[in-house]
């Protein structure tokens, strides 16, 4: 009686083996966990090196690669405290929900010609932006639920940053959509085979980078988690495993936005295919570009001071939005006069 169930299961696995591999291994869970651990380790070593010091060394006997695993184990084994003045259900649910949102964004990105997990019927970018805007709302909720003076101020500031950074960024992304004529990620990457969009869309690229810093709360725009004023901003009240999830959510969100940056402006998987097989070289190129952009953003993080809230909102409204509108006009002109350049005409 069990045989047919097992046979059905076995045939189901054989049919969509590729899909299961994609979900669990490459762009799925394993890749996200490994990337988070690598990114945190790399950030601590790289920033330490810029600060003229060593960073974690003794944890793994060679370059301290086990340091993050030690941190994770310690946090798991920590006792978690539920402050009396919070909504217990939300206090537990939100940290679990936070890493999930950006995790599912990673699946929408095309890593090679036919290597995309969820096609989204032609409007992948639209779905990406829709899901991505839930993250600030949820992080605001965590601040509000923790019911501590500093987290409430942090929650208010998350909304400020949301307003200041997200609107100009969405308009900038519109420039790319006008050039390629569709929301489909694959078409966007195909359109960049001749020239990457960082060239014609340089204004949009600048606005996107600043918005990306804002959305992922990196230093120039990271006032929701501003250490000097609000202890840890939104994450102050969370201990042990919940803090581990919150910290991880931060980096998964960073991974999602970097991948979007790579596909929209740096030509996704376009690149000379070194390996024989096209998909492997496609994936290779996406990861290389991801690493380069990561190093760039980390260097920005070290050399610049943090913007005040009102300065960031003023920057967002007075400078970024006009810039992105100007970018729209440029992309319309480019689309009208030189359609052949983008494989559309």
């Amino acid at each position: 009686m069990y045989e047919d169930i097992i046979n059905q299961l076995w045939s189901f696995i054989q049919d969509n083996l590729k899909f299961i591999f994609m979900i669990t291994i490459f762009p799925g869970l394993a890749f996200i966990f490994i990337f988070v651990i690598f990114a945190v380790w790399f950030k601590r070593k790289y920033l330490a090196r810029l600060m003229l010091r060593m960073g974690p060394v003794h944890a793994g006997k060679v370059l301290g690669w086990l340091q993050l695993i030690a941190d994770a184990i310690k946090l798991i084994a920590k006792e978690f405290i539920i402050p009396r003045t919070t909504l217990k259900f939300l206090f537990f649910l939100l940290p679990i929900l936070l890493p999930v949102i950006p995790a599912c964004l990673v699946l929408l990105i095309p890593y090679a010609e036919d290597y995309i997990v969820f096609e989204a019927a032609g409007n992948g970018l639209l779905l990406f932006l829709a899901i991505a805007t839930i993250y600030p709302v949820l992080s605001m909720l965590t601040g509000w639920v923790a019911n501590n003076k500093f987290t409430i101020i942090g929650a208010l500031r998350t909304i400020y940053m949301d307003v200041a950074a997200e609107i100009p960024m969405v308009i900038a992304v519109l420039g790319v959509v006008i050039l390629t004529g569709s929301f489909d990620f694959v078409k966007i990457v195909e359109a960049q085979s001749k020239i990457w969009f960082i060239g014609p869309q340089i204004l949009g690229f600048i606005v996107f980078i600043i918005g990306c810093l804002g959305m992922t709360e990196r230093v120039p725009m990271d006032f929701p988690v501003a250490e000097p004023e609000l202890i840890l901003g939104v994450k102050t009240e969370y201990t042990g495993p919940l803090y581990l999830l919150m910290m991880e959510a931060d980096f998964v969100n960073w991974l999602a936005w970097l991948l979007l940056l790579v596909t929209l402006y740096l030509g996704g998987y376009n690149g000379p295919d070194i390996f024989m097989n096209k998909t492997i070289s496609g994936i290779f190129w996406v990861l290389v570009k991801l690493l380069v952009v990561m190093i760039l953003l980390m260097t920005i993080e070290v050399t610049y001071a943090r913007l005040r809230v009102d300065q960031a909102v003023r920057l967002g409204w007075r400078i970024l939005i006009p810039l992105s509108l100007l970018n729209l006009v440029i992309s319309i002109l480019l689309r009208y006069y030189m359609p052949w350049m983008w494989g559309v005409g």
Partner: protein
């Protein structure tokens, strides 16, 4: 205060190798609170500085008490400060340690007859004592390594705790 979930017991019942892993993890990432109480604080900053870097052993200074497991008393502790320190100690989650840096925290040091300096030992259980006024960075690093040894379960001098 906040009702704490008593968590300690579960880990000790685990079999030896799994407990070793948790202890190894804990020993390599001690997070101290970003909190200084007295006049040894410049030396405490030097120890996190480029030359004597405590982050080599994974020791970071975290701003919020909820994520930390080590409370460093750096320098003299007065009656007004000890009340806040006790409150901090209560806020920290369970596997927590207290380290005394400087002789003022051990025996009131040069202020032996001051009317407001107190000894930390009368108020909080202390794990590691680092003497010196201010102790040299090597001494502070040695104290941190002693704390690591204590977490790994090895015997570190006579201590009232275990």
């Amino acid at each position: 205060m906040s009702n704490k979930v008593e968590f300690k017991g579960i880990l000790d019942k685990l079999p030896k190798p799994i407990r070793r892993i948790f202890e190894w993890g804990r020993s390599y990432s001690i997070w101290a609170i970003h909190y200084v109480t007295g006049c040894c604080s410049p030396e405490f900053m030097q120890v996190f500085g480029p030359r004597y870097d405590l982050e080599r052993w994974g020791l970071l200074s975290q701003p919020s008490t909820r994520q930390c497991d080590a409370l460093f008393f750096v320098g003299n502790v007065t009656r007004k400060m000890i009340r806040r320190a006790i409150r901090l100690y209560n806020q920290m989650p369970e596997p927590r340690y207290v380290v005394n840096i400087g002789i003022c925290t051990i025996s009131k040091g040069p202020f032996y007859d001051s009317y407001s300096v107190v000894r930390v030992e009368d108020y909080l259980p202390v794990d590691i004592y680092i003497s010196g006024c201010p102790p040299k960075p090597e001494a502070i690093i040695y104290g941190a390594l002693l704390l690591r040894k204590k977490i790994l379960g090895e015997k570190v001098g006579g201590s009232k705790r275990d």
